[in-house]
Symmetry: D2
Subunit: 445 residues, 4 copies
């Protein structure tokens, strides 16, 4: 019996391939399913079962597609409001055999109404379960969000509390296999550590030490964001997704057409590259931030053109976008030296350091814009800074003064660069970025 964790960077999504004796199960597959097919075949296993812990809102599920390719069934919890078209319904106590492994269903609602956990038993060591796939109910160091049902936050927080008690009852020795790790938008306090047990969580997870009422209050006090693309995910994850591209890349674009006007021109090269030179009007979203921020900033129904370092980065970016349902990348272009050499205009974005920010503090005609999340800002910020979360910036641009110079900051300068590119695209002229940002500020004081 072998269990392979497949991590999707950016989304911090975790899916699992369980293989045993010629059979295999996949838990929470993503859209690019080769990552399950390849190792299953290499180990001589047929994928016979696909399990979904819940209807995901942050990524496109590959469950329906994988079912089509393998002939396996998809098992999903009861979802009467929006029945999952590609799945069969399973309920507490249902049990499935995968080689020498047995998977038993536990209903663990709270994060969503349809949330399930899947308990893993080994036929040849049956005294207690070996592990449990907890989806978005229980993470390493945190528990799931409970803000998805407006007006029902209290009810679903209570449901989650009860679900967690069921999980704790499985026993300290049980291995924990959640659907997300640190960096996911599906929780805020996840540990950077990627492995744990029920027992270690019972001792250390701050949410598990509370009684029911305190737990509910704590959950109600949390602050989460819901990027607009969540709506698209919810729809796609009811309908089932189409395959990712057969031929991954659009053709490279001729250099001359370097204009940001009639498309979403997205510069994925990186923070520092964008600062050095970029096409005026382009939106900076470094490739490793696409999963987290494309859903706030880009329109999934409009064409997207990429500015990349090379074809490999373009291919990576196309795939990352497809994982969250952005299928309309139409071209890519590589490098700024060719653009500038063609005689086309380019722009730079100035990066400033701690010293400069400190000098400017308190001066007039200047604004320090901190685009971190509300909790991060609350936990500590530079006196006088204005906070607008990066995700909200596109819809709140009008609030910003056009007659001031603006320095944008965040944790390190990365999100600030995305924000600055949005400001520049919206016609703001005196914009720079505090590279190092809060980390530099706190290290240098």
């Amino acid at each position: 019996m072998k269990l392979e964790k497949i991590k999707t960077e950016g989304l911090a999504h975790l899916s699992y391939l369980l293989t045993s004796n010629g059979e295999a199960a996949v838990i929470d597959p993503r859209r690019d399913i080769d990552v399950y097919l390849d190792p299953a075949r290499r180990d001589g296993c047929r994928i016979t079962h696909i399990f979904e812990t819940h209807r995901n809102e942050d990524l496109v599920s590959g469950a329906g597609l994988l079912a089509e390719v393998t002939g396996a069934d998809v098992w999903h919890g009861p979802n009467p409001a929006e029945p999952i078209r590609y799945a069969k319904t399973t309920r507490e106590g249902d049990s499935y055999q995968v080689g020498d492994a047995r998977i038993e269903v536990l209903e663990t609602p709270g994060h969503t109404y349809d949330s399930l956990s899947f308990i893993l038993f080994d036929q040849s060591a049956q005294d207690g379960p070996v592990g449990v796939f907890t989806g978005d109910a229980l993470f390493v160091g945190d528990v799931g969000r409970t803000d998805f049902y407006p007006g029902k936050e209290r009810e679903v927080s209570g449901l989650l509390y009860d679900s967690l008690q069921k999980l704790l009852k499985l026993g300290d020795h049980v291995l924990l296999y959640p659907a997300h790790g640190a960096g996911s938008v599906c929780g805020s306090g996840m540990a950077d550590r990627e492995f744990s047990t029920i027992g270690h969580e019972r001792r250390n997870n701050p949410r598990l030490g509370l009684d029911r009422d305190a737990f509910i209050e704590a959950k109600l006090a949390e602050h989460h964001e819901q990027p607009p693309y969540f709506r698209l995910m919810e729809r796609l994850n009811v309908e089932g997704a189409s395959p990712t591209r057969r031929y991954p890349l659009p053709p490279p674009k001729p250099i001359l057409k370097a204009s940001a006007e009639d498309s979403q021109l997205v510069d994925v090269r990186g923070v520092v590259d964008f600062a050095g030179a970029h096409i005026p009007g382009s939106i900076a979203i470094p490739d490793d931030m696409l999963a987290a921020f494309a859903g706030w900033v880009l329109d999934p129904d409009q064409a997207i053109d990429l500015v990349c370092r090379d074809a490999a980065q373009a291919e990576r970016s196309v795939l990352t976008l497809e994982r969250i349902g952005y299928d309309h990348v139409e071209s890519f272009r590589t490098g700024m030296v060719p653009v500038a050499s063609s005689g086309a205009a380019f722009a730079s974005l100035t990066m400033v350091g701690t010293e400069t920010v400190r000098e400017r503090l308190g001066t007039g005609g200047w604004m320090l814009l901190d685009v971190r999340g509300i909790d991060e800002f609350a936990a500590g910020h530079i006196e006088g800074a204005t906070n607008i979360y990066l995700g909200h910036l596109p819809s709140r641009v009008a609030e910003l003064p056009r007659d001031k110079s603006i320095t944008v900051m965040c944790g390190s300068g990365a999100r600030a660069t995305i924000a600055a590119s949005i400001l520049l695209r919206n016609g703001f002229e005196n914009v720079d970025v505090y590279l190092g940002s809060w980390k530099a500020w706190t290290s240098s004081i």
Copy 2:
């Protein structure tokens, strides 16, 4: 300006990717087109032109598909009988610009009526062409077959002679880029060397030293085979092919169903593996021989199940079969040790050596069956051997005596093993293979 030769082993097919200054052309693309898309993107080039030297009969063209993916046009010679649906017609003297390269069309009929050659010029060194893509008109060491139009062999041989004179006129210094290399069924005397020039061919190619009449007589005296799958290729190459599989492999098959009855069970592991142990009734075609012999032995409309060493070999075999239009591989199974361990029956095929064959010579109740081509057999064979070409064996099995023991031979024992598996599947009981075959015989005498 860069020219990449893409060789498809097994078919000995040569296609070409020409890149220059952000643009690219492909000459005679095969069906799995990633092999052109990837390097073009890596070098930052858009594929703007696709050229076909003629309607191929031995492999599925990827021209239509590549056009669809890239937006490029496909250029093909006039083919009034069966207009190529995915192509535009081009004629002698037409000229195309690809970056700094210029491609000029030369009509070179003979092998087929629609055969073109494409002359390559470099804009910055224009005194004489640099190279020429000759398709199946002129090879290194040989010229194209002229047996595709029954009753018109004499006419098309004459056409080919005239076409070759046009090619020779391009000048000695011109590089030669043919569509096939040694091992192809599209010619019989191709050199093992993979590079040449018009001048080197003029001096050394045996077909270029003849006058028109002698040339025609020599062509008429040639002997070529036409595997049944050529019909399928001709149809597909008018219609245009669908893409190869998105997810390359079918699921592995459970071991228990080891039976050859209701499918074409094809054992691609290798000659010696098949001899050691195989599933009774399976057809041996080692993976590196699939391109040459699947088209003689397998039915493209029926399901195919594979016996492989491992998943990688299965994947390779699926792709090789797709290149010649066999799209119905439905499962694969790995290794014979698991089959035997499951309690299923298995069989062996005895390999004998030179000494055994020599002892048997002249004895009664025994037949030595040589499955090499008629020309190979004519060039030298063991006294008393019977010759039936491997490709004809499936339809001529009834001619063989069931009351004799049969030793099968060929050049080395590889084709003989395919033949032996066909005999075994047809109920012959006393069959073995002369491993080493003609090579061993001639080395040991």
Copy 3:
């Protein structure tokens, strides 16, 4: 904090790369250390600590080499008899910081006197350890061997019992990271499952339910084998190993020199390939069995020549052999068709099935030789079979009758093929193999 398990197939050896915050530790590295250097670099981590749970006897440690390349220290338990030249000594309670992780030493002698376990703590979730690296003290489903100190088996078994109590005290929730998985010669009852916790072992591991006396008796009753190459490993693992080859393969050998006389000619192609055809006198050890059986059959001081399917298999085999200290591979040769074609002699090995074996049972002049381990044989065998363990066969060949025909069997036919090749090399003439062996026998009855 990330923990990567590196599995070495064949040896079923498990080593670990722990990364956290720019630093990394490796536990029990093998000789080909790229497998640690590459992911550490990719994640931007310096390897700062190397831990060895004990002086390994079944594989060459890469600890000294890795220390040399990275500048990290190697930490090893006290080994006064033979101080490890490349390591520093660490003792119970010593503690090491690796990024946000803390490693604490626990002395757990028994398997060897110098055996340590390493307890893993997370700085940010400190209530109880997260996991423990147990070396060869505690496995999933089994505990370590205690037969390495002749005359002291009772003492070290007691030591191991006490060590296991220390491990159990860490708590049910602690993740288990042993140095071996199923298939290792370092234990006999390891589970096929590759993940567990202290708690799951406490409930299910058969050795953990016994009291001290019963435990000791059970350990004394076990039967293990010590291949001769263990002596070489012990020496190398005191001295420290040299790097694996810079250029992994020797040049391919011309076909003509196909003789097994003056070298150890090892045929690694596979069981069924060897049966089909092989070079007379060659020793069959399929590449995936080299780790387990080369140490019984081959002389590490003599040159080794390989017969392979292709260069990739040769490269894999060279590396597998280097991992157990066999550095003298001098050539390789690919395929038997070229050998036979050159006119050289070849031989086959007949594979028989259940029906044939059943027919022969009780007949005279025939011997059924079962080369499985004594425990396997005791657990069930074919009436009338003679048992000599494969590992002992080279030194016990003289016991076998030369006037009988011999059918060799094992679990599936794989070990039997190695055994048969040894008999053939020793001049036995009537030897065949029962393909499927005990698995086929028990499935077919």
Copy 4:
């Protein structure tokens, strides 16, 4: 017979692997020899011959090393002044058999006294040679440099003229295989096209249309640069090189030590990255420019520390440096965001466009520094610009005014960025770069 061209980007060096019938020859191997060993093994060939066209001055030869690994001999032309330690001497008319190929030696001095060409014959098509390896005598579109023997330029130019006549006599149909392509420092007018024949060169190569006297005068009028590292190459290529690193990368460097003071801190990330943010004092040499410019700027005897985008870029850079004898890379560091986040100081380099440059023209206190080669500058430049070739800048820094602002330009901005980093490191304060440079200037006018 197969001929594989191995191109080393950056150096634009071409080496060749010729394989035929189980044997192989390598012409002009580079230092990282896996690139010859791997394909030779894959095709089942032993490398039996190594040929050097001359003692290279621009890269480290791998001939001695390859000889050691394979047992083949190295054949080199007569070099009485400095006998090549790892080679045997071969002379005009000597002949070598490699499978079915024959290699014949032609002495073609001029570029160096020891320059040889190797004529390639095919045994089975002997009427005229097939190709010729011309080393640095004859390129596509150019001929070799003749400036390596101070005071003897006229003599060696004449020798080269005579050698070229010998090559032309081989015949128009002969394929040309030179040791360099476009971008090499070993010639200035090489074509971007990578394939040609003697005949095509005879018609199009501008140097081949001259008579002896005109040829000599033309060669004397050429202008070439000799980077200081050529001295190192010449020494290493007499002695023979050691292997490249067994474990390719040094450990990553902790972020904190971000200082350029006590080492050669080389930023290989890229032109635009360096502009966006860099460590003060670091030298910008983008990874694809290392081969061309490290030899002008870096000291091979001093330690080198790298700033990279990621570990893969670091690995590539280490190898590129090793190919030109820079073996002392001691660490690498990835990305500027972590550096700035640690609180360390960083700097930017402003990129300006055509409009800015045009505005500044003629203003005081400003200097436009063009670092292109003397020939490029002569062919066209911006009125008022000062020319110092980039390679000479390190030794001519003192000539530049410290009281002016300086805009650096080149062809596209890439070499200008290297130059700007050198000025910054030397304490110049008002330095920026004209991104797009001459290409932008000429496109926008």
